[in-house]
Symmetry: C2
Subunit: 160 residues, 2 copies
């Protein structure tokens, strides 16, 4: 990718995209919660070609048509999100804090076994992820480090 | 401005900006209607610094705080809009058709006396401006070439 393409994509992400870290409850996870990193681009389904072009540049992720004439191009996963955010970071402006925080959290997750964090690390990262609520002006975010801590304590997974 | 900055701004405009040609009724205009060209960028008032940065790059235009915690940075006028669109055109993707059509219309307006178009030219350009309704998926656009033509005929300003 050229620097001009990266700058363009960073501008588009700043205008109408989303960088996200979320805590997701998984009943089959020993620690109860999964950390999910994602980048999302939106566009009218009529202009899906644009998302296909983006995907051809960023390589990873998948495009999904919603029911409301909009399509979403989503990249999920620590390694994929890390790779793309590192490319875009120098060009981002508005969403630079989100990108930095995401990279910071991903960096703390063991590289080899991405899902294998300890209860202590999960809680530490969950507290960092809480900051996203402000950064993305999110009103919907329900799961915070409070729930994670309660769960871990209820299962006696956290040393006091 | 560097090419990277232009590419970034084009990406941001494609994501969350607007390129517009409008017909505006002016009771004091001999031909009744004015052609208005504009570029608009939106951002939460909290992040107004970003719009100030944009303005420092694009030089022209003004920033206005709305009542809903949003701010708008608007560039109006044929010469200003023409200059900026020519800079951004090579980098635009989604809004390239709007930019091209705007430049095409501006090109037909006499360079020296920008407001002094003839009734015939106004109607011709109004018909081109009608295409914006589709390009911007605008549901609010009320004034089309139909109104312009009616007005010009009612004033006997158009030769039959």
């Amino acid at each position: 990718m050229t620097k001009k393409e990266l700058a363009y994509i960073a501008g588009f992400l700043d205008g109408d995209g989303c960088v996200m870290l979320q805590l997701i409850f998984r009943h089959d996870y020993p620690l109860g919660y999964q950390i999910r990193a994602s980048i999302v681009f939106y566009q009218k389904t009529m202009k899906k070609d644009f998302l296909l072009w983006l995907k051809s540049k960023l390589k990873d992720g998948y495009i999904r048509e919603r029911n409301d004439e909009m399509s979403e191009y989503t990249i999920v996963g620590f390694d994929r999100v890390e790779r793309i955010l590192k490319l875009l970071l120098p060009f981002l402006r508005l969403k630079k804090p989100q990108a930095k925080l995401t990279l910071e959290v991903i960096k703390e997750i063991p590289k080899k076994k991405r899902g294998m964090y300890t209860a202590k690390l999960l809680l530490k990262l969950a507290k960092k992820i809480d900051k996203f609520k402000q950064l993305n002006y999110s009103k919907k975010r329900k799961i915070t480090s409070v729930q994670v801590e309660k769960f871990l304590k209820s299962r006696k997974l956290l040393s006091p």
